[in-house]
């Protein structure tokens, strides 16, 4: 009896581990399960993803299962679910499954095959463009939020501007002046690196202190760049850039990505401003962990929730932008089908063949809506303040 009591006392010295009621994952699943619209959005997203990936395999290659480029002029503008006239077709022209699931267009091409091919374009444009914008946004926002109070010296700003000017001059073929400016910049860099304490003359000292004035803080610089970028009407900027660059799907992805990172930057900066004052950041510093590791490994996972939400909604708007560009004829070049250029082709026959506009239009609507619903559902779950009380 006595022994038992002693053992009991010994055990009670160490506090018993507390089991939490729910892990974070379980709570996430429970809340997500209650949000029907978000589930619907996720379901449509998964369906779309599946269609796009299988569509890529079924429509590419030398003899694809669904051929989006097969022209059958005798079968033009057939309505959806029409059977092909087998007597007028060559054996290789007969569509797969022996039916035009979504009808044919003005050249007799199978709209279903073209929609499948376009799904892959929409998916990659959405993800790659948002990937680029999120990467830039996280980097800029992280720097602005964490190092925001640091100042940049006047000479560094002047140096950067001079280097950009020099590069610009060399590109527009004022090579001599450009090279001179470049050499001047290099000379200044060498001077400030190696000859820092060499001269003590009064005039140079005055010049030096003037050049070493702290001009702007990092935060001001980055956030004003964001403001400037937001001032541009971005769709027209994209139109201009796409008109100048060769038409290719990669250029469109990059341009959409480069003009849509500002929202993410603002979100990430706002999160960083509150997170960098947290004790765990001070604790990480006290353990001797480097600043970049603290930013990207310790703070970033805590700041990722709003980024995830804005990225999901960003995918929807990137798909919409790409469809708009293709509709205007600035998008992916013609033989390749995208939802935007199917829509654009179809508008000429809107009274004779309404399926040519309605099928891509409604598909774009559903996919964009599903991304928005999913994104908003995620925001409600990840942000406890917006969460309804259950």
């Amino acid at each position: 009896m006595n022994m038992e009591k002693k053992d009991f006392l010994k055990d009670s010295y160490i506090e018993p581990p507390l089991a939490p009621k729910q892990t974070q994952m379980q709570e996430f699943r429970r809340l997500f399960g209650q949000n029907r619209l978000a589930i619907l959005g996720l379901f449509i997203f998964i369906l779309f993803f599946f269609c796009a990936v299988t569509g890529l395999f079924l429509t590419s290659g030398s003899r694809p299962f669904f051929d989006p480029a097969m022209v059958r002029l005798q079968e033009k503008l057939r309505p959806p679910l029409a059977k092909p006239h087998l007597d007028s077709l060559q054996p290789e022209e007969v569509p797969a499954l022996n039916v035009y699931l979504m009808g044919t267009d003005d050249l007799g091409r199978d709209v279903f095959a073209r929609m499948l091919q376009g799904a892959w374009v929409s998916l990659t444009v959405g993800f790659v463009a948002v990937g680029i914008s999120v990467l830039i946004g996280i980097f800029m926002g992280g720097i602005a939020g964490y190092f925001g109070q640091h100042y940049i010296r006047l000479d560094h700003i002047l140096l950067t501007l001079a280097l950009i000017l020099a590069a610009g001059l060399i590109i527009v073929k004022f090579a001599f002046i450009g090279t001179m400016i470049l050499l001047l910049c290099l000379a200044y860099i060498f001077y400030s690196l190696f000859a820092r304490h060499a001269s003590t003359k009064k005039e140079t000292l005055v010049l030096k202190t003037m050049l070493h004035i702290n001009a702007v803080s990092v935060d001001t610089l980055i956030m004003r760049i964001v403001d400037i970028m937001l001032c541009f009407p971005s769709f027209f900027l994209i139109l201009t850039v796409v008109a100048l660059l060769p038409a290719s799907i990669y250029n469109i992805m990059i341009v959409i990505g480069l003009t849509s990172w500002m929202g993410t930057t603002r979100f990430v900066r706002a999160e960083f401003l509150s997170l960098r004052e947290q004790d765990f950041v001070a604790a990480a510093k006290a353990l001797g962990i480097s600043n970049f590791r603290i930013i990207f490994r310790h703070i970033m996972p805590n700041a990722v929730a709003p980024v995830l939400v804005s990225a999901t909604i960003g995918i929807a708007s990137a798909i919409l932008t790409e469809a708009g560009l293709s509709f205007l004829g600035f998008g992916v070049p013609p033989p390749h089908a995208t939802w935007g250029n199917i829509l654009s082709n179809g508008k000429n026959f809107i009274f004779d063949a309404p399926w040519l506009t309605f099928i891509p239009g409604i598909t774009i609507l559903i996919v964009v809506l599903s991304f928005n619903l999913f994104g908003e559902g995620l925001r409600d779950i990840l942000n406890p303040k917006l969460r309804e009380r259950h």
Binding site: P17, L18, A282, A283, K285, A286, G288
Partner: protein
């Protein structure tokens, strides 16, 4: 136990904060030393500059508002204030580490305990993942956490407050530092857990023969753990000495006030003593002795003359020439 060689020596450290035109003199010329194998306590009210002095030892003062104006921090022969960021990162965690006040917020909520302890080790010593895991288990064992293999996979919110503080101590111990700075590690915990954590710190200090700089406002804790005590008030050290000297024969009216306001069984039924007023705003400190507006022994000269450190007995000094006339004091 020998406490001879000074490990950390802070000399005339001044840390000021620039705040809307006013200059807050948070730490205004403090000097103290921590010798090898010794536990030293910094005691004082909230806002007297204890935490700021601890952070400035590690170079963690946020530099746009704060600035180390003067003084030096000598740690095993090198002046930490002169070191650049790269060199400081090698010292932090590796030679000096810190345990923070709030174990709840000092652990990153999105990583497991194992990740965080592992990173503390891995930052300074590159070892294999297998060995790292074993080392983490060993560390958690040392700080008295049951079934460490399972706990390593837990997230901070799955642990109780005492366990989190044990994890923080394990992280501080990870690289076998020479000095641990414990900034009120037991303030956020309830009393029974407090006692456990203090016992743990003491046993670890003995086992690993480290030095501990313990920052607290709790005199009960201080009397249990300290070898020597520095009493801080408004950014300066007002009294210093061995624990016995401070607790038995306090020579500064502020220390006496603090001791008198401790509840004890012998004072049962009586009203507790309290020091009137509050700590002065570090931007607008009174002239002369900073304590004189609250001091019941203050005389006219206290208002004008900043008091010097006066020797009372071996190692025992206080910044009050009025209350007890020290040996050799003229005036």
């Amino acid at each position: 136990m020998t406490h001879d060689k000074p490990l950390l020596c802070v000399d005339n450290l001044k840390v000021y904060f620039q705040n809307n035109g006013a200059r807050a003199r948070a730490v205004d010329g403090i000097s103290f030393e921590v010798r090898e194998n010794e536990t030293v306590c910094l005691v004082g009210e909230s806002g007297c500059g204890k935490t700021v002095s601890a952070l400035s030892i590690l170079g963690l003062i946020p530099t746009p508002p704060g600035e180390i104006v003067d003084g030096q921090v000598i740690f095993s022969g090198q002046n930490l204030i002169k070191l650049d960021e790269k060199a400081m990162q090698k010292i932090r965690g590796n030679h000096i580490s810190m345990v923070f006040q709030e174990p709840l917020t000092s652990l990153n909520p999105v990583f497991t305990i194992g990740d965080q302890i592992g990173e503390a080790v891995y930052t300074h010593k590159q070892i294999e993942p297998e060995a790292l895991f074993q080392y983490c288990v060993q560390l958690l064992n040392d700080v008295g956490i049951p079934s460490p293999e399972q706990r390593l996979k837990d997230y901070p919110h799955q642990l109780s407050g005492g366990q989190r503080q044990r994890v923080m101590i394990a992280m501080a111990l990870a690289c076998d530092p020479d000095l641990i700075i414990a900034d009120e590690p037991t303030t956020a915990l309830d009393v029974t857990v407090q006692a456990q954590i203090i016992a743990l710190l003491r046993s670890i200090q003995k086992k690993r023969s480290m030095s501990v700089l313990y920052i607290s406002h709790d005199l009960g804790v201080v009397s249990a753990i300290a070898n020597r005590v520095y009493v801080m008030y408004a950014g300066i050290i007002v009294e210093q000495g061995h624990t016995d000297q401070i607790f038995r024969t306090a020579r500064h009216p502020y220390t006496q006030g603090l001791l008198a306001s401790l509840p004890s069984l012998s004072k049962r039924g009586k009203r507790l003593h309290s020091i009137p007023g509050s700590v002065p705003n570090p931007a607008y400190k009174p002239t002369g002795c900073p304590f004189h507006p609250r001091c019941s022994h203050a005389i006219l000269s206290c208002r004008e003359e900043f008091p010097e450190m006066c020797d009372y007995s071996k190692g025992h000094q206080a910044r009050c020439p009025v209350l007890f006339k020290p040996k050799g004091y003229k005036g």
